[in-house]
Symmetry: C2
Subunit: 148 residues, 2 copies
DNA sequence: TAAAATTAGATTGTGTACAATATAATTCTA
DNA sequence: TAGAATTATATTGTACACAATCTAATTTTA
């Protein structure tokens, strides 16, 4: 067994599967004027609006160098707006616009469509999800349960 | 169950685990003057040298827009060189330099070190690998067994 | 066999990713 | 409480990713 053989790498399938799934999102996200990272930010905001950028970054494991241009695009597209937290002027608070809230309705079917495209059975989905969540914990990527 | 909740997305853990593992490669690849995509190209060449760019692209699921600059960097760093196939002048044939061949020796421990860093047991590794290979086939990413 | 279609790479443009650095606001601490 | 450390975000520079388009070489086919 040659450890330097591509087929023996654990990372490579994560890398290529991740890219492949993101490509399959594209036909469903493009009509909403969203890229995949932009969609992730919207998911976070649909869960809880009025969130500081730092929190979005922690949730998505993305730093400001990545998030700043992503949020800028969402602002240009009219989905979110930003303001500073008066209690801490460093914090940039991101808030959905009406358009951004309405978009949630338009995105409602995206997860189901992606599941169709991936063609996984319910059991497979659950099995994969468990392993991924498991590995996320092992890698320290899982979120700490927070009360706020 | 809200399908638009981040925790119910299958793609997101692939996306963040992939990025996390690549980050953990960095300390081991940087001394070799390689990024992760550059390392992948070298893995392919260490398996079989003198390969057309198209074949590397098929193997790694990367198009010319991505590979052209990656290979350019490998050339600048002295690891590979390119020439055209005389039988088909469209094909760009990529070949390891002596330096590029020697690099394989320096990279020999990278997979083991990554395994250490990930902290997976042998059983976990096998379990994850099976799941990933399985899903790669389902998504049409697995390579067709070729004779050449 | 000449025009049409295909294939291999390169280029352009947009959008991430992230390390490193900078700046301003806030908190800590001697 | 003033200087030091920390925190939140922005900026810069490098390097992918990929869609779309382009050019040139090869293959197909009418």
């Amino acid at each position: 067994m040659n450890p330097l053989h591509l087929s023996n790498q654990l990372c490579f399938p994560f890398y290529s599967i991740s890219k492949e799934i993101i490509k399959r999102y594209q036909p469903y996200l493009a009509p909403l004027n969203l890229t995949y990272p932009q969609y992730l930010v919207m998911l976070v905001l649909w869960e809880a609006d009025h969130v500081p950028l730092s929190k979005i970054g922690k949730r998505l494991q993305l730093d400001s160098g990545t998030l700043t241009p992503v949020v800028k695009k969402l602002i240009v597209n009219g989905y979110v707006e930003k303001s500073r937290n008066p209690d801490d002027e460093r914090q940039l608070v991101i808030k959905l616009t009406e358009r951004g809230q309405a978009l949630q309705e338009e995105a409602r079917d995206v997860p189901a469509k992606i599941n169709d495209v991936l063609g996984l059975s319910a059991e497979e989905y659950v099995r994969y999800k468990e392993m991924l969540d498991d590995l996320s914990v092992k890698l320290g990527l899982a979120e700490e349960k927070e009360t706020c």
